[in-house]
C-alpha cells in the first residue's frame, strides 16, 4: 500500500502553510520537522506529560496525540510565536526572572498552557495556577517557581491591558 498524502492548510504563528502530509504524521513531528519549528518538544508520545502542548484555535492540545491532518484549517500557536520583534512575552520574561525553568524541556509546553490559563482567567490565585498547570509535568523545578512566574506575568499583563484601555 503506497503511502497516500493529504493536503492540509494550517496557519502557524500567523503564517499560512500548505503542505502534503501522510495521514499518520503526528502534528508534533509536522511542526518540528516539516515546518522547522523545533520549539515544541516530545516527552511521552502518549498524551500524558504535556511537553508537546500547543494552542489550536486558542485551546491547548497535545500535539503528540494529534494527527497533522486533524489540524487542517486551524490556527496554531507555538512557543516560537510568543516573542514579538525581539521582545520576550511577559510569560517568557517572568519565567527567566523567577527561574521557572532549569532544563527548559517542558518550558514551551508550559508557556503555551500558561497563555491559555491567563486568557481564561487573567487574575488567578496561586492555587488556581497550580491546579491548572497540573496538566503539564515538570521534572526539574517542582513547579513552585513556574507558578510564581505565571502569577507575576499575569500581573504585568493586566497592567498592560489597563494602560492600553
Amino acid at each position: 500500500m503506497a503511502p497516500t498524502t493529504c493536503t492540509i492548510t494550517v496557519t502557524v504563528n500567523g503564517q499560512p502553510h500548505v503542505a502534503e502530509v501522510e495521514p499518520r504524521r503526528l502534528l508534533v513531528d509536522f511542526l518540528r520537522e516539516d515546518l522547522g519549528l523545533p520549539g515544541t518538544h516530545i516527552g511521552c508520545e502518549q498524551g500524558v506529560c504535556g511537553t508537546c502542548t500547543i494552542l489550536l484555535n486558542g485551546a491547548s492540545i497535545r500535539s503528540c496525540i494529534t494527527l497533522a491532518v486533524q489540524a487542517d484549517g486551524a490556527e496554531i500557536s507555538t512557543v516560537e510565536g510568543l516573542a514579538r520583534d525581539g521582545e520576550l512575552h511577559p510569560l517568557q520574561d517572568e519565567f527567566a526572572a523567577k527561574q521557572g525553568l532549569q532544563c527548559g524541556y517542558c518550558t514551551p509546553g508550559m508557556l503555551m498552557r500558561a497563555c491559555e490559563i491567563l486568557a481564561e482567567n487573567p487574575d488567578p490565585t496561586p492555587a488556581e495556577v497550580r491546579s491548572a498547570i497540573a496538566s503539564n509535568l515538570c521534572r526539574c523545578t517542582g513547579y513552585q517557581f513556574i507558578i510564581e512566574a505565571v502569577i507575576s506575568a499575569a500581573a504585568r499583563m493586566r497592567a498592560t491591558k489597563e494602560v492600553a484601555s
Binding site: 527561574q99 532544563c103 517542582g142 517557581f145
Partner: protein, 815 residues
C-alpha cells in the same frame, strides 16, 4: 575519629566576605534560548538526510534467542540496514563497564544469545524516518526460548535460582563485609539493639527528554563524531572508543543540552554506540532517539533497589553507638557502575551523628531487570532514609523525643572523620535544625496534630529528618571495593579554558560538561564575573567535545559547581599572572607593585596609573613588539582542576580514605495527612533547610531543592519500576510510572544556612541532589508519625495506597 591533622588535606582557605557576583540570584545565562524554543536539544539537531534507528526489544524477561529473521524488514520501504545482536557483536565490543567482572556479566549494545530483561534490544533497524524504522521492526521475526525469570533479589541469591549470567556461576555479582571502628565492642556495650527490615524499590530520573545521539562515521579518517545528550567522563571515553573498535583519538563526543537527567544521562553511551555502529554500517549520519518506552524499559539508569536488615546499637539515654547494615541491592541484569552506589552511602553512612562503628555488608544481586545507573543521590539518599527510619524507631522504642535524640548525637567538631575514613569538612547541624523547626512552625503543628486527631479523628504526621548531602566524588570510590583493583584510578578533574579576546571579551570553554538543567554556564559566568569584575552576561560560555577537550568529569555527585569554581579560579589566575606582567611592562613598573582592582591592573598607591583588561588584551593580541621576547601573544589560560581532597584507602580497607569531603547537610520537616480509608497522603506543610556552604546563586539552588524534593515525593509515594513475579515490566509508560504533577507537590518553604567549606573556592559545596536526598526519608517519617497511634509503621517505599491500606489491614485498623 575527630582529628584534624590527617595527611592529604588541602590548605585551609581564607574566604573573602566581599563578593559581588557569587551569592547573587541573577537570571540564568542559559535561559533565553530555551524560552524562545531554540534549546538545541539532540532531537532539534537532525539535519536532512539523516537516517533514523529504532530498536526491537525483547518481550521476555529471560530467554534464549534462537533465531532472528530480518529479510522482510530489510525489504521494507525506506530501510537501509538491519543489524542483529549477533552482527553487532562483530561490529562492536562490549559496552564500557566499571562492574566487578565485566568478562562474566558482559554487557553489549544489543543482546546476542539471550535476553536478560523485558525491553533488552535484540536488533536495530535504520531507515529514512523513525516511522519507517518502526514499521520495519514489526517485520522482524524472533524465535525465543523462554527461560525462568528471577525477579526477587533475595531469591536471586538463593541456591538454585536461574542464573542471569551463566558465566558468573551465581547471581551474586559482589559480596563483601566492611568493618569500621569497634563494632563488636559497641554492640556488646549497648543497652538496646534496634532492629529493622526496610525495602526501597527502584525508581528513576525519567527526565522528560530521553537519551539520543546523532553519529557520523568518516571513513576517510576512520573517526566517529557523535552529538549526544549524555555526559561523558572525558578521560574514560577510550572505553567507548574501544566498544566502537577505534582508537580513543578517533572518537569525538560532543555534548548538547539535555532536557533533564538527574543522573540518567550519566555515561549513557548505548544510544551513542548504536547510532555510531549504524552510521558506520550505512555510511550515513544516523540518529537514534529513544522514545519513552525505550527509555523506561531500557534506560540503564534504574535507581537503587534495596533490602536492608539493620541493627542500631543504642544507649538508653539515646546515644548511638554503632550500626550493622546488611544490604542486598538488586542491580538488574548488568552492573555498569559496580557497587559505586554503596560508596556514596559509605561517604555519609553515619549521617550527622557521632556513631562510632559501622559494619557494612553489601551483596549485589543480579536479576532479570534493566540495570541500575545513576539517580540523584546515587545510593546515598537510600542510606539517609534507612538511617533516619532507624533513629525514629529507636526514639519510639526508648520513649525519647525524635528531635532531641538527633540533637544528642550531632557531630559538632569539624573537620570530622567518620568511621569509614571520609571527612565532613564543615557544618552546623544545630543551626540547620533550629531554622527548619522554626520555618516549619513545628510546635504549632504538633499542637494541631493532637487537636485534629482528638477532635476530628484525622491522622496528621510530622517528619523531622537530619541528613547529609555529600558533594564532589573522588575516583577511589569506584575501586576501593577490591583489595587488588585492576585500575586504582585517582583522577576526576574538571577543566576550564578562559580566553580574553582582543576587545577584552571573555569566553569560557567547558569540556564534556553537560547542561542538563543544572546551570553550568551561570555558575561559570558568575565565577568569571567575580574574578574579572565584568558582567556575567558578557561572558560567552561554550562547550567542547571530548576529542579536542581537556580532561573533564562533568556533573554528577553534585560536583560541578565546586569543580568549575576551582577550574575558573585556576584559569583566571594564569590570565591575571600574565596580564599583571604585561601591564607592568607597559607601565614600566615592577609586577609586584601592581594590584588587580575594578577590572584591571593598577599601580599600588597610584590608582590613576592603570590598564584595563581590555587594554592589556588588545596589546597582547596585536602588538607583539610592545612586549619582551618571552611573552607570547594572546591572553588565555586553562586549568585542569583535580579533585582537591582525595586520600587513598588503607590496604586493609578499614579506612577508605577521604573520597567525598565537601559535606552539606539538610533538615526537612513535612507535615502530612494520611487518609486511612484510601491510603492517600497529602501535604499540609513542607519546610526544607539546606546548608551547601557558600551559595553561588541562591535562587538556582532553591529551585534544585524544590525539584529534588518533588522527585523525592515521587520516590516516597508514587514512582516505581514495577516488575511482576514473571519479570514483566508493568509500569512501562507514564500511565503507570507515576510522576508527580503540580498537585502532588506542595509549596516548599526553603531556608538556607551557609557553613563555608574550608577547602573550596569561596567555600562552595555542591547541592544539586540534596532535595531528593532528604525527602523520601522525611516523608516516610511523617507518614509513620501519622500512623503511630494505630500501631502502623511503613518500612517500604514507595508508600502507595496499596501498601498503606495493607499495613492498616494487617494491624486491624483498616478504615
Amino acid at each position: 575519629m575527630t582529628t584534624a591533622s590527617r595527611p592529604g588535606a588541602p590548605p585551609v582557605r581564607d574566604h573573602s566576605a566581599k563578593r559581588r557576583w557569587v551569592g547573587q540570584s541573577i537570571r540564568r545565562v542559559e535561559d533565553p534560548k530555551f524560552l524562545l524554543g531554540r534549546g538545541g536539544y539532540i532531537a532539534d539537531r537532525i539535519t536532512p538526510g539523516t537516517l533514523h534507528a529504532a530498536v526491537l526489544r525483547s518481550p521476555h524477561p529471560h530467554a534464549r534467542i534462537l533465531r532472528i529473521e530480518v529479510a522482510q524488514a530489510l525489504a521494507a520501504p525506506g530501510v537501509r540496514a538491519v543489524i542483529t545482536g549477533l552482527q553487532a557483536a562483530e561490529l562492536c565490543d562490549p559496552m564500557p563497564d566499571f562492574g566487578p567482572d565485566p568478562a562474566r556479566h558482559t554487557w553489549r549494545c544489543l543482546a546476542v544469545d539471550k535476553v536478560r530483561y523485558v525491553g533488552e534490544g535484540v536488533a536495530v533497524v535504520v531507515a529514512d524516518s523513525r516511522y519507517l524504522a518502526e514499521d520495519a521492526l514489526e517485520l522482524i521475526e524472533v524465535e525465543y526460548e523462554a527461560l525462568p525469570a528471577v525477579v526477587d533479589p533475595e531469591r536471586a541469591l538463593a541456591d538454585g535460582a536461574p542464573l542471569v549470567h551463566e558465566a558468573l556461576g551465581s547471581n551474586c555479582a559482589y559480596e563483601r563485609t566492611f568493618d569500621f571502628g569497634e563494632v563488636e565492642r559497641d554492640f556488646a556495650e549497648a543497652d538496646v539493639i534496634i532492629t529493622d527490615r526496610l525495602r526501597w524499590h527502584r525508581s528513576g530520573g525519567q527526565p522528560l527528554e530521553t537519551v539520543g545521539a546523532i553519529a557520523e562515521y568518516d571513513p576517510g579518517t576512520g573517526s566517529f563524531t557523535i552529538d549526544t545528550n549524555t555526559l561523558s567522563f572525558t578521560s574514560y571515553l577510550f572505553m567507548a572508543a574501544n566498544t566502537l573498535k577505534v582508537p580513543a583519538n578517533k572518537l569525538d563526543i560532543r555534548p548538547v543540552p539535555a532536557g533533564g537527567s538527574f543522573g540518567s544521562k550519566l555515561f549513557a553511551n548505548k544510544p551513542a554506540v548504536i547510532a555510531a555502529m549504524c552510521s558506520r554500517a550505512t555510511g550515513r549520519k544516523v540518529a537514534y532517539l529513544e522514545d519513552r518506552v525505550d527509555n523506561i524499559s531500557n534506560c540503564d539508569h534504574h535507581g537503587s533497589d534495596r533490602v536492608y536488615n539493620v541493627e542500631l546499637a543504642m544507649m538508653r539515654d539515646g546515644t548511638m553507638r554503632g550500626i550493622k547494615i546488611d544490604v542486598v541491592d538488586d542491580y538488574g541484569a548488568y552492573m555498569q557502575f559496580g557497587v559505586g552506589h554503596h560508596g556514596n552511602a559509605l561517604a555519609q553512612v553515619v549521617g550527622p551523628y557521632t556513631i562510632g562503628s559501622v559494619r557494612y555488608r553489601v551483596r549485589a544481586a543480579l536479576t532479570n531487570k534493566n540495570q541500575q545507573g545513576a539517580y540523584r543521590g546515587f545510593g546515598s539518599e537510600v542510606n539517609n532514609w534507612m538511617l533516619e527510619q532507624m533513629v525514629d524507631k529507636a526514639a519510639r522504642e526508648l520513649g525519647l523525643d525524635p528531635v532531641a535524640t538527633r540533637r544528642k548525637n550531632f557531630i559538632r567538631d569539624f573537620p570530622h572523620f567518620i568511621p569509614t575514613g571520609n571527612v565532613y569538612d564543615s557544618g552546623d547541624y544545630d543551626r540547620v535544625l533550629d531554622k527548619a523547626l522554626e520555618l516549619a512552625d513545628y510546635s504549632r503543628w504538633r499542637a494541631e496534630q493532637k487537636r485534629l486527631r482528638e477532635e476530628e479523628g484525622r491522622y496528621i504526621g510530622i517528619g523531622v529528618i537530619c541528613a547529609q548531602e555529600r558533594s564532589v566524588f573522588s575516583a577511589t570510590e569506584f575501586w576501593f571495593w577490591f583489595d587488588e583493583p585492576g585500575a586504582p584510578v585517582t583522577s576526576t578533574p574538571e577543566s576550564v579554558t578562559l580566553k580574553v579576546d582582543a576587545t577584552g571579551g571573555i569566553t569560557a570553554i567547558l569540556y564534556s560538561c553537560a547542561f542538563w538543567g543544572n546551570s553550568p554556564e551561570t555558575m561559570v559566568a558568575q565565577f568569571v564575573a567575580e574574578e574579572f569584575d565584568c558582567s556575567p552576561y558578557d561572558v560567552s560560555v561554550v562547550y567542547h567535545g571530548s576529542r579536542d577537550g581537556l580532561p573533564a568529569t562533568g556533573p554528577g555527585g553534585s560536583r560541578t559547581t565546586v569543580m568549575l569554581a576551582g577550574a575558573v579560579e585556576g584559569a583566571a589566575g594564569k590570565i591575571k599572572e600574565k596580564a599583571r606582567r604585561a601591564a607592568a611592562h607597559l607601565l614600566e613598573i615592577a609586577p609586584e607593585d601592581m594590584e588587580w582592582a575594578d577590572g584591571g591592573f593598577r599601580v599600588r598607591g597610584d590608582p590613576e596609573r592603570r590598564k584595563s583588561l581590555a587594554e592589556i588584551a588588545i596589546m597582547l593580541h596585536l602588538f607583539k613588539h610592545s612586549f619582551p621576547d618571552d611573552m607570547e601573544s594572546g591572553l588565555e589560560g586553562s586549568k585542569v582542576f583535580d579533585h582537591p581532597y582525595t586520600t587513598m584507602p588503607s590496604a586493609d580497607r578499614k579506612d577508605l580514605g577521604v573520597f567525598y569531603p565537601f559535606m552539606g547537610h539538610a533538615c526537612h520537616v513535612p507535615v502530612v495527612e494520611v487518609d486511612i480509608e484510601t491510603g492517600a497522603v497529602t501535604f499540609l506543610h513542607y519546610a526544607a533547610v539546606h546548608d551547601c556552604g557558600t551559595l553561588v546563586n541562591p535562587r538556582s539552588l532553591a529551585g534544585h531543592i524544590v525539584g529534588g524534593t518533588a522527585q523525592g515525593i515521587g520516590t516516597a509515594l508514587y514512582e516505581e519500576y514495577v516488575y511482576d513475579e514473571d519479570g514483566q515490566l508493568l509500569s512501562s509508560s507514564y500511565l503507570d510510572y507515576l510522576i508527580p504533577s503540580a498537585m502532588e507537590v506542595p509549596e516548599v518553604g526553603i531556608g538556607h544556612v551557609e557553613t563555608p567549606s574550608p577547602y573550596t573556592p569561596h567555600g562552595v559545596k555542591g547541592g544539586g541532589e540534596g532535595g531528593r536526598m532528604m525527602a523520601p526519608a522525611a516523608i516516610n517519617a511523617a507518614v509513620n508519625d501519622a500512623l503511630a497511634p494505630l500501631g502502623v509503621r511503613l518500612t517500604e517505599l514507595p508508600m502507595t495506597p496499596e501498601r498503606i491500606l495493607s499495613a492498616l489491614r494487617a494491624a486491624g485498623r483498616a478504615g
